[in-house]
Assembly symmetry: C2
Homo-oligomer: 241 residues x 2
């Protein structure tokens, strides 16, 4: 069966013969915008059950029903890697969420730091952005995006079993070899533009579960650092091996 060109994220369970109701927005998109109708094939994913090819069984103005025919791709969950980052300008924040989704992070945690300008974030908008990134890159997993928390509060309640790889912008030199790191749950921590404050740096240096790492001899923007750190972790400990 040819892979369907239109791809939709649904909340409904997916499986052989499973009927899936459409929301009004989805029905509008499918039948009015894309001009599809009964018999059309659509790819569905819900973040848990892989990708399914479904057929339009009923099309109406304000709803509709699809039926799952066969699984087109198995569920691909990311390794147990979280990304902690300090939101920066809107465009670059969107970019970081997009890249975390594409490169395979399991969860995204925006944090407020001493040099972060953002007092709050549009969590719903960022979550929608992660979903869109998964939709576009044929991903079957959408990382949950948390609401903004203060870095200090996050570190206070942190489970030390999950180690943190800290992209320490003061370590401008040869990068650590990440292949020496222990496997297990990890999080990558990326600072805002302007880096971390001295107080934050002292605190991070004092935490046993935090490993500072250098990302080469150049100064990287926060979004570039996020891409580079996730890539190195994936190649050393993740599912790129």
């Amino acid at each position: 069966m040819e892979r369907a060109k239109i791809r939709l994220h649904v909340d409904h369970p997916l499986g052989q013969g499973q009927a899936v109701p459409l929301t009004q927005d989805q029905a509008h998109y499918l039948f009015s915008v894309m001009r599809e109708g009964p018999g059309s094939k659509v790819a569905l994913f819900n973040g848990r059950d892989g990708e399914w090819t479904a057929e339009v069984a009923e099309a109406a103005k304000k709803g509709g029903r699809l039926v799952c025919l066969e699984q087109a791709a198995a569920q691909l969950n990311p390794p147990d890697l979280w990304l902690i980052f300090a939101p920066i300008r809107k465009e670059r924040t969107d970019f970081i969420v997009e890249k975390a989704t594409e490169l395979g992070c399991a969860r995204v945690l925006p944090v407020q730091t001493d040099f972060t300008n953002a007092q709050r974030i549009r969590q719903d908008r960022l979550q929608a952005h992660a979903l869109e990134a998964a939709e576009q890159c044929l991903g079957t997993y959408v990382p949950p995006v948390d609401d903004l928390v203060a870095l200090n509060a996050l570190m206070k309640g942190w489970d030390p079993a999950r180690r943190i790889l800290w992209a320490d912008e003061s370590l401008v030199g040869p990068a650590e070899t990440l292949s020496g790191l222990a496997p297990g749950p990890w999080a990558i921590l990326i600072g805002p533009e302007g880096g971390f404050s001295e107080a934050e740096r002292a605190r991070l240096r004092g935490l046993d579960f935090v490993t500072p790492v250098s990302l080469g001899p150049r100064i990287l923007r926060a979004d570039t650092a996020a891409c580079a750190a996730i890539t190195l972790w994936q190649a050393a400990l993740g599912d790129w091996r």
Copy 2:
């Protein structure tokens, strides 16, 4: 001496006591926009001589003169890595040039492929974008951005001494260990959205100097693939070691 906050790229040689004339645009920016004047400190780089702290010696409406006081950062050239990529939408093309500059590529070569929409590029705009990326990230090197050439023509005249790491989107599986690759001059090749055509793939597979590599089990956008491939190469063979 404190690092100057304003950073300018100039074409002029830089060195101890060297006088550097300002263009009309630079004078306007420094004296009218930024309200600087005689005695102000400015950071200068020209892509060859590192970064210099200079002092404004003369300020006029349509020009001016700076004098270099001391070198603030040594010249940091990238390793001998080129990036070949197929221009996509404007925003993502800009992004690839920016990331190639930040992550440390020596040259950027946009290519036209069977699935590339672009018939021509604004080379001057992309070059300015590389310069801006270096300016903002305190880089001292600006990679030259070539004009658009056809992939076939580029491969025909290619010096086989420079090996090509081809991010082959059909290899969706565990990534190669790049640490096994031989050092020397390299280029990374990233395809457009939609990948390479079958004819292009067959041709690339037949070239001795081309090594296909996988970037993990997920489908990556072209800009993400560029970031990931440069990162892996830098960590394995470049100056991130």
